[in-house]
C-alpha cells in the first residue's frame, strides 16, 4: 500500500513536472514585436496614439496569435533621431526582434532606416509620409508602409478644388521651416500647378513662431483665392487663429493634415470653420466589417465604440492606422503559423481585408515602395460643427462652401 502511494506520488509529481515544463515551454512560445514609438518629446501625441492602437490590436487577438503569446516591446525614442536609432539598435541587436512597428513621424522613421538595414526585420511603418522615405526604402521587400504618401495631401484638394471652382485660381502657400513644411512644399507647388492653379505667393514661417502675421499680411497683398498651410498641428493652431483674426478674406483655406484633428478644432474654436484637408481616416464614417474577419476588422462604428469605451475619447488617425497595421501583421503571423518573417511577409502581401482605413492590400507604388497600403485619401471640409466629405464624388456627402 505504501509502495502504491509512493508510486502514485511519483506519477503525480512527474505529471506536475510535465505540466509545469509544458507551461514553461508554452510561455516561451512568444512572438516579440518591437515598437519604437514617440512616447515622450514633441511627437508624443503620435506615440501615445500608436500605443493605444497597438493595445487595441493585441486585445483583438486576446494576446495570442498562432498559439504564441504576443509580447510588445515598447521603446521610447523620445521624439529624437538619436532616440530612434538607439531604440532600433536595441530591439534588433539585443532583443533580436523580427517584427517592428513604428516610429510614426517622417524624420524619425528616416533616421531609423540605417539601423533597420543592419538586420532588415519585417518593418511596418504606419506613418512617415515624406517622399524621401519612399526613396530610401525603394525596392525593400520587408518594409510595409501603411499610410498615404505626402503628395496625397495635395493631389486630392488640388483636383477637388479645380473641379469645383475651375482652373486659373490664385494659390498662396504658407509653410513652416521644419522638415514637415519643407518636404511638403515641392509637392504642393507641383500638384496645384498641374491642377491649373497659379502660385502667387510662398511664405515661410518659423516652427513655433509666436507671430505669423507678417507672412499673412504679405499674402493678403497678393489677393489669393486659396491659402494652403503646410505645417504640423502645433503651428496649425496658431496660423488658424491668426488667419481668422487678420480677416484676410481668402475664401478657401487648405491645411496639410491638422484640420482633421479634433484637438485642433477644440483649440481654435470657430476659426476651424471652412478649412479643407485630405484624410485617410475619419471617425464616424460608415465602413462595414470585413466579411471574413469581422472580429478583427469590425465595422467602423463598432470599433470606434469599443475604442471610446476603453479610452474615453474618440479615436484619431494614428489610433486607427496603428490598430489596422498591427492587426494585419498579427493576422499574417496567424496565417503563417508562427514567427518566420519571410512567411509572414508573404502572407501580408497576400492579404486583402476590409478595414476601418479602407481596403487593406499591399501593392507597389510608382515611387518604388514595394508594399504600400492605404494610399487613397478623401477630401473633407469643416462646415460649422459638421464634417462634409467633398471629394471624390463617389464618396461625397456635400459640396464645398467658400468661407464668407
Amino acid at each position: 500500500m505504501r509502495a502504491f502511494r509512493y508510486i502514485r506520488h511519483m506519477v503525480m509529481g512527474a505529471l506536475c513536472g510535465l505540466f509545469i515544463t509544458g507551461g514553461i515551454a508554452h510561455a516561451q512560445k512568444v512572438i516579440r514585436i518591437g515598437a519604437p514609438l514617440e512616447l515622450t518629446g514633441k511627437f508624443v501625441i503620435y506615440g501615445s496614439q500608436g500605443q493605444r492602437g497597438l493595445e487595441m490590436a493585441v486585445e483583438a487577438f486576446a494576446g495570442t496569435v498562432a498559439g504564441h503569446r504576443i509580447e510588445v516591446l515598447l521603446r521610447d525614442i523620445q521624439s529624437t533621431n538619436q532616440g530612434a536609432v538607439s531604440a532600433m539598435t536595441d530591439l534588433l541587436e539585443k532583443e533580436k526582434v523580427d517584427f517592428l512597428i513604428g516610429p510614426i513621424a517622417s524624420g524619425l522613421v528616416s533616421a531609423a532606416v540605417p539601423a533597420w538595414r543592419q538586420r532588415k526585420p519585417l518593418w511596418i511603418v504606419p506613418g512617415a509620409s515624406a517622399l524621401s522615405f519612399e526613396e530610401a526604402i525603394a525596392g525593400e521587400s520587408m518594409v510595409f508602409h501603411t499610410y498615404a504618401w505626402g503628395y496625397g495631401y495635395h493631389t486630392g484638394p488640388a483636383n477637388a478644388l479645380a473641379a469645383a471652382f475651375g482652373k486659373g485660381k490664385k494659390v498662396a502657400i504658407i509653410y513652416s521651416d521644419g522638415a514637415y513644411g519643407r518636404s511638403h512644399l515641392p509637392d504642393a507647388r507641383k500638384h496645384y500647378t498641374e491642377a491649373g492653379f497659379q502660385i502667387v505667393a510662398t511664405e515661410l514661417v518659423r516652427e513655433n513662431a509666436a507671430d505669423m502675421n507678417p507672412a499673412l499680411q504679405k499674402i493678403r497683398l497678393t489677393k489669393p483665392d486659396v491659402l494652403v498651410a503646410l505645417m504640423q498641428t502645433t503651428d496649425g493652431i496658431v496660423v488658424a487663429k491668426q488667419i481668422h483674426v487678420a480677416k484676410l478674406g481668402i475664401p478657401i483655406l487648405v491645411g496639410s493634415a491638422f484640420p482633421q484633428f479634433q484637438t485642433w478644432v477644440d483649440a481654435v474654436g470657430e476659426a476651424a470653420n471652412g478649412w479643407i484637408t485630405a484624410v485617410a481616416y475619419l471617425a464616424g464614417q460608415a465602413v462595414p466589417a470585413d466579411p471574413k474577419y469581422p472580429r478583427i476588422f469590425p465595422a467602423a462604428k463598432d470599433w470606434e465604440a469599443a475604442f471610446t469605451k476603453k479610452y474615453n475619447r474618440e479615436p484619431e488617425l494614428i489610433d486607427a492606422m496603428v490598430y489596422t497595421s498591427a492587426a494585419m501583421l498579427f493576422l499574417a503571423i496567424d496565417r503563417a503559423g508562427g514567427g518566420d518573417k519571410e512567411r509572414v511577409a508573404k502572407e501580408l502581401r497576400n492579404l486583402g481585408v476590409e478595414t476601418i482605413m479602407g481596403e487593406g492590400k499591399f501593392v507597389p507604388t510608382p515611387g518604388g515602395a514595394v508594399n504600400q497600403a492605404f494610399n487613397e485619401m478623401f477630401v473633407i471640409q469643416r462646415q460649422g460643427d459638421k464634417i462634409v466629405t467633398v471629394w471624390p464624388k463617389a464618396r461625397s456627402n456635400g459640396q464645398f462652401k467658400p468661407i464668407q
Partner: protein, 291 residues
C-alpha cells in the same frame, strides 16, 4: 509703405510678449545668479493652469491669472527648497544641469497629467479684431501686451518701493553686504525664485489664448527669453525690457521686408545679439557678472 503701420503695431505687440517671456528669467538671474533653465516649464504650467480653469470652470484666463500665478509660485517654492537651495554656491554648470533636469522632469510630469495633445484657450477676444488707421488690431494680442506691460511695470515698482523689493535689490547688488545689514539672503533668493515662477506662469496664462499649449512649449520660449536677457544684460529688468522690443522690431522687420523673411527673422535677431555682445559684452544695461 502699405505694410509700415501694421509692421510697427505687430512689432510693438510682439515686444510686449517677449518682455513677459524674459522678465521672470531676468529677475531670477539678477538676484540668485542662477539661470533658471526650468523657467519654460513654469510658463507651460501657467498656460495649462489657465486652460484647465477655462475649460472646467469657465474662468477667463485673465481672471485666472492670479490663481495660476499663486499655484506656480508654490511649484517654484518646491523647486527652490528641494533643488536650488542645495546648489546656491555650486559651480554654474552644476546649477544649469540641475535645472535643465528639473525642466525635463516637469515636462514629463505634464505629459503624464495632460497628455501630449495640443491645446489652446479660445475666448471671444482671442478671435476678435478690428481695423484702425489701416492696421488690423488683434484684441487678444493687445490684451496680452497690456498684461505684459502691467506686470513688468508692477515688478519694477515693487522692486523700487517695497521693503522686500529693496532687500531683493540689495542682495542682487552685493550679497555679503546685504547679509551684514541683516537681510536673510536665502529668503530673498526664495522670494525672487517664486516671483520669477509666478511671472512665468502669468506669461503662460497670457499666451494660453494666443499660442499652442503643449508640455514642450516651454523650451522654445526659454531660448527666446534667454537671448533677450543676455541682450538686455544679465540681471537687468530694464535692459530686458529694451532688449525685448529691439528683438521684436528686428524680427518683425525682417519678416515684413525680406522675401520669405519669416525664416530669417530669428537668425538675424541672433546676429544682432552677437554683435551687441561683441561691442558691449554686458548687454544693454547689464552689470558685471564675473563673480
Amino acid at each position: 509703405m502699405t505694410l509700415l503701420p501694421q509692421f510697427l503695431l505687430d512689432a510693438l505687440l510682439l515686444g510686449g510678449l517677449y518682455c513677459l517671456m524674459a522678465v521672470g528669467l531676468a529677475l531670477c538671474f539678477g538676484v540668485t545668479r542662477i539661470i533658471n533653465f526650468a523657467h519654460g516649464e513654469m510658463i507651460m504650467f501657467g498656460a495649462y493652469g489657465a486652460f484647465l480653469l477655462s475649460v472646467h470652470f469657465g474662468i477667463d484666463p485673465l481672471l485666472s491669472l492670479p490663481l495660476v500665478a499663486l499655484g506656480v509660485a508654490l511649484i517654484g517654492f518646491l523647486v527652490f527648497k528641494l533643488c536650488v537651495q542645495r546648489v546656491l554656491d555650486a559651480p554654474h554648470v552644476n546649477q544649469i544641469l540641475l535645472l535643465f533636469g528639473v525642466g525635463l522632469i516637469l515636462q514629463n510630469i505634464a505629459v503624464l497629467i495632460f497628455t501630449g495633445d495640443e491645446r489652446s484657450v479660445t475666448t471671444a477676444y482671442s478671435l476678435a479684431s478690428d481695423q484702425f488707421f489701416g492696421m488690423m488690431v488683434a484684441y487678444g494680442r493687445l490684451i496680452a501686451f497690456a498684461v505684459s506691460i502691467g506686470l513688468t511695470v508692477g515688478l519694477i515698482v515693487w522692486l523700487r518701493i517695497s521693503e522686500m523689493g529693496r532687500a531683493i535689490q540689495a542682495v542682487a547688488q552685493q550679497r555679503d553686504a546685504a547679509k551684514l545689514m541683516g537681510i536673510n539672503v536665502t529668503a530673498m533668493y526664495m522670494v525672487s525664485f517664486m516671483v520669477s515662477a509666478a511671472l512665468g506662469s502669468a506669461t503662460g496664462a497670457a499666451m494660453s489664448f494666443l499660442l499652442t499649449i503643449t508640455p514642450f512649449m516651454g523650451f522654445h520660449i526659454l531660448i527666446k527669453g534667454f537671448a533677450i536677457v543676455v541682450l538686455g544684460g544679465l540681471g537687468s529688468v530694464g535692459g530686458t525690457l529694451i532688449a525685448a522690443f529691439v528683438l521684436a522690431f528686428v524680427e518683425t522687420g525682417v519678416s515684413y521686408y525680406v522675401p520669405e523673411g519669416g525664416g530669417w527673422a530669428e537668425g538675424v535677431a541672433l546676429a544682432v545679439l552677437l554683435m551687441v555682445l561683441i561691442l558691449r559684452p554686458r548687454g544693454f544695461l547689464g552689470q558685471a557678472v564675473d563673480n
